[in-house]
């Protein structure tokens, strides 16, 4: 079904191996403003394997995009500081020389941005924007690059790609632009794809198409995808694993089903509860009151404590570490064991089908 599989393929599709492709340890991002540093992301560690799709969810301002950008070295050089390591195929992305980084970007690791209208250069034809990526990383002729770009356009589902090649971004619909973004990101068949809210601006029907596309790519090429979204629904449909971010930290990391069945962190639970489902029963929605604290005014203990209805004195005292939990789960909550939080399934039902977790 996937048109991508017809393309020349450097990476043979592999089954999910256990050798990590990307290994991030202690990622921290700090923004410097007027000589003061403020923390945007801290203590972020995770790893990804080939072909795996990992979701990263959280409210606006929780540090999802910053995490993605940090991996590609796309944060403003002057006003930000990045710590930790992020190894991909032996290279530490965070310590790489600019030239080395340039060679990796768009090649081994690439990124799709949320707003395709602004993310594409408005004054160059879309075809150009794809082929220049190829020409940057591959020694190919102009016409060969053009041919490849046209093929890519076709493979992401743009009809009549050779005609569309000369179109400018504003001449395309939102869904098409997003597909062009994807084509750019895939131009050099990267091993890691960071997708930063690639469907937020799109309609559900178009979103479904894009999600399918990403899933196929991952499957056919073994591309690892880090899927950033604030929409747990989307993540649950696409990803196998999900990380929840709050105020620059990962507060929970588990398999998607586990989280939805029974979230371990009150914040994750709150997020799930706030999603209005198509259940035609008019009732109040649960909400997580308050907002993500600004990086300048973080509480001393658990960062979620001011908004948490389960907070105890202990939560105010210490900043909880990310700790292991059975079934390969990680959580940053000292009360994770005591709480029986509501997920996407009513507790009654959860109890009924309790044992089915896998």
């Amino acid at each position: 079904m996937s048109k991508l599989s017809t393309m020349a393929d450097a990476h043979a599709p592999t089954s999910t191996s256990t050798v990590p492709l990307l290994e991030v340890t202690d990622l921290g991002v700090y923004f410097v403003r007027d000589g003061e540093e403020s923390r945007a992301v801290e203590n972020v560690s995770f790893s990804m394997t080939e072909g795996e799709i990992v979701g990263l969810v959280g409210e606006s301002g929780s540090g999802k995009s910053v995490t993605g950008l940090a991996l590609l070295g796309l944060l403003p050089e002057k006003s930000s500081r990045v710590t930790g390591t992020a190894r991909i195929a032996g290279t530490d992305l965070l310590a790489a020389e600019p030239a080395q980084l340039r060679r990796l970007r768009g090649n081994e690791i690439s990124m799709i941005f949320q707003d395709s209208l602004t993310a594409l250069d408005p004054v160059f034809p879309i075809g150009n924007q794809i082929s220049e990526t190829i020409r940057t990383h591959r020694e190919v002729s102009r016409s060969a690059a053009k041919k490849q770009a046209t093929d890519l356009l076709e493979s992401v589902g743009i009809p009549e790609p050779s005609k569309r090649y000369r179109d400018y971004p504003h001449q395309l619909s939102g869904g098409m632009r997003q597909r062009v973004m994807i084509a750019i990101a895939l131009a050099c068949e990267p091993r890691l794809l960071i997708a930063d809210e690639p469907t937020t601006a799109l309609d559900v029907t178009i979103q479904a198409q894009i999600l399918d596309l990403i899933r196929d790519i991952s499957k056919d090429h073994g591309t690892a995808v880090m899927f950033i979204s604030h929409d747990l629904g989307v993540v649950s449909e696409l990803c196998s694993r999900v990380m929840t971010m709050y105020a620059g930290e990962i507060v929970e990391m588990s398999a998607v089903d586990d989280v939805l069945e029974r979230p371990l962190h009150p914040y994750t639970s709150g997020l799930i509860q706030a999603i209005p489902s198509t259940n035609p029963v008019r009732r109040r929605l649960q909400s997580v009151p308050g907002r993500v604290p600004s990086p300048d005014e973080l509480p001393a203990g658990c960062l979620f404590e001011p908004r948490c209805s389960f907070a105890e004195d202990a939560c105010r005292a210490v900043h909880p570490p990310l700790r292991d939990y059975p079934a390969d789960r990680l959580v940053r909550c000292i009360r994770a064991d005591d709480l029986n939080l509501t997920g996407a399934v009513l507790p009654t039902e959860a109890v009924e089908s309790g044992g089915q977790r896998g």
Binding site: L74, T118, A119, L120, V123, Q129, T136, H170, A185, A187
Partner: protein, 312 residues
């Protein structure tokens, strides 16, 4: 694609020129003084003045004078100078090229210096380089053109002898000499313009370099130099706009600069004509200047469409 714009613009040109010439006509009529007095000079007597006015058609009523001017214009006749009888057309032919040469040089200089300074400042935004460039450039705006002109003459012409101190000619007559003559006056006007362009470029580049599309370019692995070029294309519309708008002030500035450099151009022509109330010449110069402005605006409009596909 450009045909319709040109047609649309041409449609607007004629009324604009008509209004312009009417405005000038009224304006010049309001200027005190009488060309007959200038012509008669020290031998003036009332009869003498009357005779001169009669022969120049200055005794007709204003609407008649304007009408005569217009009907002649339709026949391609711009009239003759009241003062020295030179056909306006030949006066314009010999001066327009000269002025265009220095104005074009000024624009070129302004663009080169302005773009370079603006880009450098933008790439080092808020750093020391930026501040230095910005300060230098602001100084350019702050100095009157004739002041700069004179200093240039003293340093580069009289001091170093690199360029001629005075004079000017049309590029089409003798390109090399014309450019030699155009450098200093071009600089005198261009430095002021460069400051504006640098300002605009800096702002636009900072904005363009922080655009999401630049982030995409980076994510693709493009080199910084390639990215700067792409950003430049992105912000060419405001820069073009400023450059286009500047033409107007350059044409105005020629009035002063041509006096400083003794350049036989449109500015000197209109200045003298204004002082002598030489209506036909004033009308002719304004017409030509308005035409130049309109043409350049048209070119800018077309350029917009070339550099930015989003426009229409």
């Amino acid at each position: 694609m450009f045909g319709s714009i040109i047609l649309r613009r041409l449609g607007a040109v004629i009324p604009t020129l008509l209004i312009a010439s009417l405005v000038v006509f009224m304006l010049v009529q309001m200027i005190p003084g009488d060309p007959a007095i200038t012509i008669a000079g020290e031998s003036a007597t009332p009869e003498q003045l009357q005779a001169i006015r009669q022969s120049l058609g200055l005794n007709d009523s204003l609407p008649v004078q304007f009408w005569n001017w217009l009907t002649n214009l339709v026949h391609g006749d711009l009239g003759r100078s009241l003062i020295n009888g030179e056909p306006v057309r030949s006066a314009l032919m010999r001066t327009t090229g000269v002025t265009l040469t220095i104005v074009a040089t000024a624009m070129l200089i302004a663009l080169v210096i302005g773009l370079a300074a603006g880009i450098v400042a933008a790439l080092h935004a808020n750093g020391l380089v930026d501040r230095a460039v910005t300060a230098l450039v602001s100084l350019g705006v702050a100095m009157p053109g004739f002041w700069i002109g004179l200093i240039l003459v003293i340093v580069f012409a009289l001091g170093l002898g690199w360029f001629p101190a005075t004079g000017g000619m049309s590029f089409f007559a003798d390109p090399v000499t014309a450019l030699q003559h155009a450098v200093l006056p071009g600089l005198a006007m261009g430095i002021v313009g460069a400051a504006e362009i640098a300002r605009q470029t800096r702002g636009a580049m900072i904005q363009a370099m922080s655009a999401d599309s630049v982030r995409t370019h980076r994510a693709k692995g493009l080199s910084e130099r390639a990215i700067v070029w792409r950003a430049l294309k992105n912000c060419s519309v405001p820069i073009l706009t400023i450059a286009g708008l500047q033409l107007n002030s350059y044409l105005g500035a020629t009035v002063v600069i041509e006096a400083v450099f003794a350049i036989p151009g449109l500015g000197g022509l209109i200045l003298n004509a204004t002082l002598q109330k030489d209506y036909p010449i004033i009308q002719g110069v304004v017409l030509v200047m308005a035409l130049i402005v309109i043409t350049v605006n048209l070119l800018v409009d077309i350029a917009y469409r070339i550099v930015d596909p989003r426009i229409r």
